[in-house]
């Protein structure tokens, strides 16, 4: 009897161990998928009833921490003047897509949620937002909104999200370090070659000062700051339909080659190689970096840290300028039962009052192209620079953008690391094929 007893014991133990394993796998796999029913989009009711309602409803809204400040400014101003009350919750950037996916699977999306604009095509395609096409048409603002953002929120001809926050990539430079290095702080570089020379000049100051800084272990940071140089040089990164990569281009190789040289020469701070995003802002506002591209939304934060910061456009290899028109798009959660009230908030955020008195007043970039020049921007020439650049920028469009470019396991990050620190030609060629495969993955 000992044999069978032992065998049973073994089976029981194995089953127990398996139970632990299964439980852990299930928890991490987020097994709370949907029940399989069609999502209650609310369109049946809302597509005909496009009116905004301000009846004292409490609305929930989610956003990512990176852009929470402006969302909160919107919300505070709206709550102060409306009967509806929006309750805003910010989530860490990296965890936010997972939070939305879990909520969608549980059919518990908030009434409103903003998301990184490059992820908007995926969310629109997955049906996470309600259809806003008819509602937006009633405002008459559709052709006055940032076009790249509007396209990002469009899937199969229908609009699901509108621009919420605009964040551009620009070149920040430390005017004091420029002066110390013998450079003219009123003449920022107008080509990538001049940028490199300026960085080298500042880098020669020593004493812990470095010429430049970049997020070499962060796919999102690199696309945000390097791609404008590619665009300004006449290159592309994606096919217009977002289903093919075009990164294996001469322009992309030359841009990477320049940054690679700056790193190898020690002009770029050594931490650039490992910068995954979390300490990027700290590096730029530390007063130890001469010139580096970064998000325009950080202008205020860098300035408040005591840096005498100048702003310039990100140049192309031989001149020209461009920017990555990033930021957030906002839409009404697919499972929201308060679409009319949520639309009241969304429509208000697009109004002159919100765009000038909330966004422009807070040194932000208006999402309305017709309000790029306003009373507040005219008072600060740097804001005029930022708002002018916006018209020259691009917002890449791809359904599988996150998996292909931003995720730490994306083929783009692998290509970036190879192009900056490894076998550059092979990295871009292999990356091009891998990214195209990822973009086409269903």
């Amino acid at each position: 009897m000992r044999g069978p007893t032992r065998a049973r014991g073994t089976r029981v133990r194995a089953a127990r161990a398996a139970a632990v394993a299964i439980s852990l796998v299930l928890v991490t796999a987020g097994c709370g998928g949907g029940s399989g029913e069609a999502a209650p989009t609310g369109d049946g009711r809302s597509s005909s009833a496009t009116a905004a309602v301000d009846d004292g409803t409490t609305l929930t809204m989610w956003t990512r921490a990176g852009t929470e400040a402006l969302s909160r400014a919107y919300v505070d101003a709206y709550n102060a003047t409306h009967r509806n009350q929006v309750r805003l919750t910010g989530y860490p950037n990296e965890e936010y897509p997972a939070k939305l996916a879990s909520a969608a699977g549980a059919r518990a999306l908030p009434d409103l949620f903003a998301a990184d604009v490059v992820f908007a095509p995926q969310y629109a395609a997955e049906g996470l937002w309600q259809d806003l096409t008819d509602r937006l048409a009633t405002t008459g603002l559709a052709d006055r909104l940032a076009p790249g953002h509007v396209r990002a929120g469009t899937w199969e001809g229908r609009g699901y999200a509108v621009p919420h926050v605009i964040d551009l990539s620009v070149m920040f430079y430390d005017r004091k370090l420029f002066t110390r290095a013998g450079l003219d702080p009123d003449k920022p570089p107008v080509s990538l070659g001049e940028f490199a020379e300026a960085a080298r000049a500042v880098g020669r100051l020593g004493g812990g000062v470095h010429g430049t800084y970049f997020g070499g272990n962060c796919g999102g940071c690199v696309e945000f700051t390097f791609w404008p140089s590619v665009w300004a040089s006449g290159g592309t990164v994606l096919a217009p339909d977002g289903r093919s990569s075009t990164i294996a281009s001469r322009q992309m190789a030359d841009v990477f080659s320049l940054y690679r040289a700056l790193y190898q020469e020690g002009v770029a701070a050594p931490a650039s190689k490992d910068e995954a995003g979390p300490t990027w802002l700290a590096a730029l506002k530390g007063g130890k970096v001469g010139i580096a591209p970064g998000p325009s939304a950080w202008l205020d934060l860098i300035e408040k840290a005591g840096v005498d910061v100048g702003v310039a456009a990100i140049p192309g290899l031989d001149g020209g300028e461009s920017t990555f028109v990033g930021g957030d798009a906002v839409g009404i959660g697919a499972t929201s039962a308060h679409a009319a009230q949520a639309w009241d908030f969304v429509a208000w955020t697009l109004s002159d009052a919100a765009q000038v008195e909330v966004v422009a007043k807070g040194k932000g970039v208006p999402v309305r192209t017709d309000l790029a020049v306003n009373a507040y921007s005219s008072a600060d020439p740097r804001l005029v620079t930022i708002n002018t650049i916006a018209a020259k920028g691009q917002t890449p469009y791809a359904r599988n953008f996150n998996a292909s470019f931003n995720d730490p396991q994306s083929p783009w990050l692998r290509a970036v690391r190879g192009a900056l620190f490894g076998d550059a030609p092979a990295a871009l060629a292999e990356g091009d094929a891998a990214i195209t495969a990822s973009l086409r993955q269903q």
Binding site: G9, R13, A14, V25, T28, A29, G30, G34, A38, A101
Partner: protein
């Protein structure tokens, strides 16, 4: 046995009472284990969108998994990590348990010190290590530089695949060493002291006592600890997600991170479920073999 399973009104009443006692556990197991497991299996046979109607696509999710290069590299890394962590954590915990096995002056303090890391949540511990090892804000690089052991900028968590793995292993040893020690300690204290006394009277050396008495009588605990370490290592996620983000260059991307990516980045729940089922099958096979071997040796 007859009283419980026997026929007749009394037997049936006792069987019903037994079922009643077991029913709370039964409900929990069915609700939180059997049903989710069935759902994951069912999902793995479908294209399962976040919202909307799933459509059957079997066996696409499984065939796609076989051609996934990230999954292949993650599988190899997870196995490598398990092979590195298992002997290290096992030996460390056993050594710590043997060190504090007997009550002496100061033993309580040492036991507490060994156990303290358990009080820190694993995610918090990972963030703690991220800060400690940071060149910008952490003291480790500075201290090692002053000791002359490193020179200049060092990136512990993403500088190289080796250092990223090393940092994660040290974190796991620090966080789980005390817990595994506690399990060993319970096993050690279950061994009757008379056995040790008899061995000493027979002139057994310390080495003989360890290998002829302690370890053989500790086999059930050894099996438990090994199972926990291997299972935990194959399901590793937190330390890599927080400390290394799977990098550099995907060199520390574990299997569960691939499950996470498929579910929450690609929104492909069917594919995530398929990888989970494959991982589960692998875990079951490893545990069955592992426990089978340990049971045979204990005969």
């Amino acid at each position: 046995m007859r009283a419980v399973t026997g026929s007749g009104p009394r037997g049936r009443r006792r069987a019903a009472a037994g079922l009643l006692y077991a029913s709370p556990t039964l409900v929990m197991v069915v609700t939180f284990f059997v049903v989710p497991l069935g759902l994951v299996g069912w999902m793995s046979l479908h294209r399962w969108p976040l919202l909307g109607t799933p459509t059957i696509n079997a066996p696409d999710n499984y065939t796609a998994a076989t051609g996934d290069s990230l999954l292949r590299s993650a599988t190899w890394f997870t196995v490598k990590y398990t092979l590195v962590v298992t002997p290290l954590l096992f030996c460390l915990a056993l050594a710590m348990a043997l060190l504090v096995q007997h009550r002496r002056r100061g033993t309580g303090v040492v036991r507490t010190a060994f156990l303290l890391p358990m009080a820190v949540g694993f995610a918090s511990a990972s963030v703690l290590f991220l800060g400690l090892l940071s060149d910008e804000i952490g003291p480790v690089t500075g201290a090692l530089t002053r000791l002359g052991l490193v020179d200049g900028y060092v990136s512990w968590v993403s500088g190289s695949p080796g250092s990223a793995l090393g940092a994660s292993v040290v974190l796991v040893l620090w966080r789980f060493g005390g817990f595994m020690m506690l399990l060993f300690l319970v096993g050690l204290q279950a061994i009757p002291t008379e056995v040790y006394e008899a061995a000493r009277l027979d002139g057994a050396s310390r080495r003989q006592i360890l290998f002829r008495i302690t370890l053989p009588l500790l086999r059930p605990t050894l099996a438990l600890v090994l199972t926990l370490i291997v299972t935990g290592s194959l399901l590793a996620f937190d330390q890599f997600w927080i400390l290394t983000r799977g990098g550099p260059d995907n060199s520390t991307t574990s299997l569960v991170m691939v499950v996470y990516r498929n579910a929450f980045v690609r929104f492909d729940l069917g594919s995530a479920a398929a990888v989970s089922i494959l991982l589960l099958a692998g875990l079951l096979a490893i545990n069955v073999v592992q426990l089978g071997v340990l049971r045979r040796r204990s005969r």
